[in-house]
């Protein structure tokens, strides 16, 4: 029962609220950077309510189940991973052994759900977007996992997020060591790709393949995808904060520091997406398998060495 409450309150409500607010900040800052006024505060929420109230159009000949289940799978995995992260940062002793691995796995599923939905929609543009997304997943997953390995090695090879947090509380954040700083850098780049934002918005490229995998989605399924993306906009930086920046604590002034860490990462994401052009998929692949992977291997070796 208590787990269900955790799932609904932390996993869904809290993450949704913060995610929607984050998406508003992102859009507003983008607008201000372009000298525009930008949307009102409730805009992301209104978008989702509007989409939920619209008709669902099924393209002819699609598999109903796959087409409609794909967004649900993505949203469900985001909800579960956000529950794991919240419970770990509020009650570090309540995690379970291996939740680091669970979180990594669940964070890969939203991309898989986009791929599934894209291939299910029988549209050449969606298929193209989905295949690009697949290549992008192959590109960034390796350096991301390597970077996430660094805090594990530093916390005496424990794969419990609670232990990683406790270790950082005792010995200072992971990012203060050279290995941790390098790994954080890699993780931030991978986060941008995981969120499919410029310069890695190759699968969605509005100007060439019109939102890619989501081109056939409209109405409620699209609302679920958007909600998933907004929640990811909170969950991924939150995961990095737990791994590298000492987590978020909810007592007094620590809460303020936690908010500051998150806003800092969000600002990096927004500025990154507003000041870069889009890469091609082969450039992104070379970038991730070349320099980024080397840096992350270097970070892992440094951490194993004890820096």
């Amino acid at each position: 029962m208590i787990h269900l409450i955790y799932l609904l309150v932390f996993g869904f409500l809290l993450t949704t609220c913060i995610g929607l607010a984050a998406s508003w900040i992102d859009r507003k800052v983008t607008a201000r950077i372009q000298y525009r006024v930008g949307p009102p505060l409730l805009q992301p929420l209104l978008d989702i309510v509007k989409l939920l109230g619209k008709e669902t159009v099924l393209p002819s000949g699609v598999s109903r189940v796959t087409f409609l289940a794909a967004p649900m799978i993505g949203l469900a995995s985001v909800m579960v991973v956000s529950t794991v992260l919240w419970v770990n940062s509020l009650y570090p002793s309540q995690g379970f052994v291996g939740d680091w691995i669970v979180a990594l796995y669940l964070l890969a599923i939203p991309s898989l759900s986009v791929i599934l939905g894209g291939f299910a929609s029988r549209n050449p543009l969606a298929g193209l977007g989905a295949s690009r997304e697949m290549k992008l997943v192959l590109a960034y997953e390796l350096p991301f996992v390597l970077a996430a390995l660094v805090p594990v090695i530093e916390a005496d090879c424990s794969i419990r997020l609670g232990d990683i947090l406790n270790f950082q509380r005792a010995n200072g954040a992971t990012a203060t060591s050279p290995a941790g700083a390098l790994a954080l850098l890699v993780a931030i780049v991978c986060m941008q790709a995981k969120l499919a934002l410029v310069p890695f918005d190759i699968p969605e490229a509005e100007t060439e393949i019109l939102c890619g995998p989501l081109v056939e989605y409209g109405g409620p399924p699209l609302a679920i995808y958007r909600l998933m993306k907004d929640m990811l906009l909170f969950i991924l930086p939150f995961f990095l904060i737990i791994l590298f920046l000492g987590g978020v604590r909810c007592d007094g002034v620590h809460l303020f520091w936690g908010v500051l860490k998150y806003v800092g990462l969000l600002a990096l994401i927004t500025v990154g997406r507003n000041t870069n052009p889009r890469l091609r998929i082969d450039q992104a692949l070379k970038f991730f398998w070349g320099p980024v992977t080397f840096i992350s291997i270097g970070a892992v070796l440094l951490a194993a060495w004890g820096h």
Binding site: R27, A31, Q34, Y35, R36, V37, G38, P39, P40, L42, Q43, L46, D47, V49, K50, L52, G53, K54, E55, T56, V57, E206, L210, C211, L214, V215, E216, Y217, G218, G219, L222
Partner: protein, 140 residues
Amino acid sequence: MDIRLKALLKSLWVYHLSTGSCNNCDIEVLDCLTPRYDIERFGMLPAGSIKHADLLLITGSCNRQSVARMKRLYEQVPRPCFVVAIGECALSRGMFIHSYNCPQPLDRIIPVDVYIPGCPPKPEAIIAGMVKLLEKVKNK
């Protein structure tokens, strides 16, 4: 007014379709996105895919080639949706009224909610037209 309609009016996503315009109207539509006019203030966004759209923005004189495609697009918009005709061409075929290639004006083919006249209409006129659309739907 129920919450769905309220949310719809605050977050209209626009699909822009040219049925044979001279491109001037299209440029004026794009002007609405620029810093000076910025329709994202009202929650309006351009949509790349017709499945995401709530508002079909039609410019041009409905020539024979594009009418079939326009009908197909109109059928694909998830309901509820609105149609806005922009420019003299879309309203009445303008200077092409005697052309062999433009047999019918837009509103004989699909229902139109708001007409924005001008050749081309200014961005201010387009925004005023949008406001009229919102008022019209609210009072209905």
